[in-house]
Subunit: 363 residues, 2 copies
């Protein structure tokens, strides 16, 4: 497929919102035992459950390293398309292409550079070469020409769009030292405008407390329709998250979207803080080039890390009393969608949640 050096904006391509119709979903199979406990077996079961849930609504392609291919094909629901592809870990949102569409429905990919959430500055593992190659490989599978950036680091989890000209990001992530230190805030905003083809970028200051991605927006806030977002929230003023969510709320409250509309904010509660246990920590292999999973570390659990698929929302559960009421809240927010809730504790232990491990191809 073609590597394009123009920009989507120049060519009339734009990133549709995730809540619009999808062609399919990509996921990447977890396996590295220095990030996932017990040889990633518990995480694999949850990935398989999420894939099967999505497959009730749209096609799912699971990308699997060579050495896990036979097992994954055997283990996964036969509706899942299993494709061999190398990766360093299992975060389709962050390493997959960002797909853009034009008005005639043609699809192209954006292949951002990837450096494991901060490279040698504060990245999570080294090396990340296979992750960085994955987006281009997925574009080949999709027969999608590809906007190939040579020097700009970005992960899919650090952006949300409304599909109508507005993007949502966090300063904590996009201005972090490990990504694009030579780009000013306005230069980064210009890149987003050129590639996502948006006219307005809303910068939330922060994301979720201790989120190792430098606080990706997709863990705290998401568009659920134009001019309407959900925001992770706590009423507990002792929780360090309180201030972070409050800043985000205030920023959203005073902003308008690219069409001049003010933004309706639905607060969704956080689960009670969840920490890595001694046992969970011991079950992760030691590897000096990988961020360790230490007992007592607070995990960045958030219900905002859900995924839209055609006709449904796949929503995290944490075994928390809030699970039920968040599900109810989502059912009220999306009367037209089925709400499927899955316990994602094992994904959370690896550093993310449902949105982080999925990537949609728009229709």
């Amino acid at each position: 497929m073609k590597k394009l050096t123009s920009t989507p904006e120049e060519d009339g391509f734009y990133m549709p919102a995730e809540f619009e119709c999808h062609r399919r979903t990509y996921m990447v199979w977890p396996q590295r035992s220095d990030n996932w406990r017990r040889g990633a077996k518990p995480a694999q079961r949850v990935y398989a459950k999420i894939a099967a849930a999505i497959a009730d609504f749209e096609e799912v392609v699971m990308l699997v390293n060579k050495d896990q291919y036979t097992h994954a094909r055997h283990f996964l629901d036969e509706r899942i398309i299993v494709v061999e592809m190398s990766s360093n870990d299992a975060w389709a949102r962050d390493i997959g292409p960002t797909f853009v569409r034009d008005l005639s429905g043609r699809i192209r990919g954006i292949d951002w550079r990837f450096n494991a959430w901060g490279g040698r500055t504060d990245g999570i593992y080294f090396p990340w070469d296979l992750d960085d190659q994955l987006a281009g490989k997925v574009c080949e599978l999709e027969r999608a020409d590809c906007y190939s950036l040579t020097d700009f680091i970005l992960e899919g989890g650090s952006i949300h769009v409304d599909g109508q000209g507005t993007a949502l990001v966090t300063e904590a992530c996009l201005l972090s030292k490990g990504r694009n230190p030579d780009y000013s805030k306005s230069a980064i905003e210009a890149k987003l405008k050129n590639y996502l083809n948006v006219q307005k970028v809303i910068w939330l200051p922060r994301g979720i407390y201790l989120d190792e991605t430098n606080e990706h927006v997709d863990n705290i806030c998401a568009f659920i329709r134009p001019a309407e977002v959900v925001l992770s929230w706590t009423e507990n003023q002792q929780d360090p998250q309180y201030l972070l969510s409050k800043c985000a709320f205030e920023e959203l409250n005073k902003q308008t979207d690219s069409n001049g509309r003010s933004i309706k904010i639905h607060k969704i509660p956080l689960p009670e803080p969840i920490e890595i246990t001694e046992k969970e920590s011991r079950e992760v292999d030691f590897e000096p080039n990988t961020l360790p999973r230490m007992a007592g570390d607070r995990l960045a659990a958030s219900y905002a890390n859900f995924y839209f698929c055609n006709g449904a929302v796949i929503l995290p559960a944490f075994g928390d009393p809030q699970d039920e009421c968040v599900k109810q809240q989502f059912e009220n927010l999306f009367p037209e969608r089925k709400i499927i809730q899955i316990n994602t504790h094992e994904v959370l232990l690896g550093g993310g949640n449902i949105h982080c491990i999925t990537q949609q191809v728009p229709k």
Copy 2:
């Protein structure tokens, strides 16, 4: 995708002829330096040329091992779809699925077992595990349910069909000791009938002299339309090939196809015998589990190892005086197709030719 335990015959699926319309062509990128001289670089250039020639007529997907992906993507024509997939070597005909179609145009794959042309009896390399997995992986890419054989060894190069109920094979290959020693000739014929959904199997006794595949039919003879074949031929009675071609001719001459038609035979000349040179032999790495390429070994060169694609024939050339006249002969045989001739000496050195390295998906 589904693994099917029924047979194509039971389900109303059959293998179309190669000269019918294709959806696309699969190829597998060569790289192993114990089979291809000079780190496979000369062979890669020829593979790329063949891929580009086919891409003028239909989509080409090149399957590439992880460590060669970046190079292959950079090296190949941008029209070629480059997909990561592990293999032990580069013979799409023999390791890819055999595709079957039903009358409504649905496609399914057949995943024969593969053992490197004879396993530990007289196979060409060990191990062959990745090759054996490749057909199933390609079926996933094609969203094709797959007839998965657990115990029956067969390579795509050992069969030809007319798409109207007739298959063409050689006894030398299909009855070889390294493939299915526990199957009688009639049991093998039954398998072919069940899976290719043919009513008649024509058994040629032999193939091309010293063909290391145990004399695949695709190197000596091919259907060019129903009840019409080309047959590799020599008038030189001193050549050991003389008797082999003569036996094939006589068998074809006395046979009828599944529709009771006698078979029109077009003799095509062989090139002058080609041997591996000292230099070529030295440029292949030594590896005890791989058939060595010895100086003085005669290569199984044959123009019959060509490939049909939509609107064209991709035909080998050997730098032989016959090249031109075979091209002329093909132009007369196929007034409706473009004849593209490519020097395939480097593919021949690795043990095959154009037909061996291509696999069509029927439309």
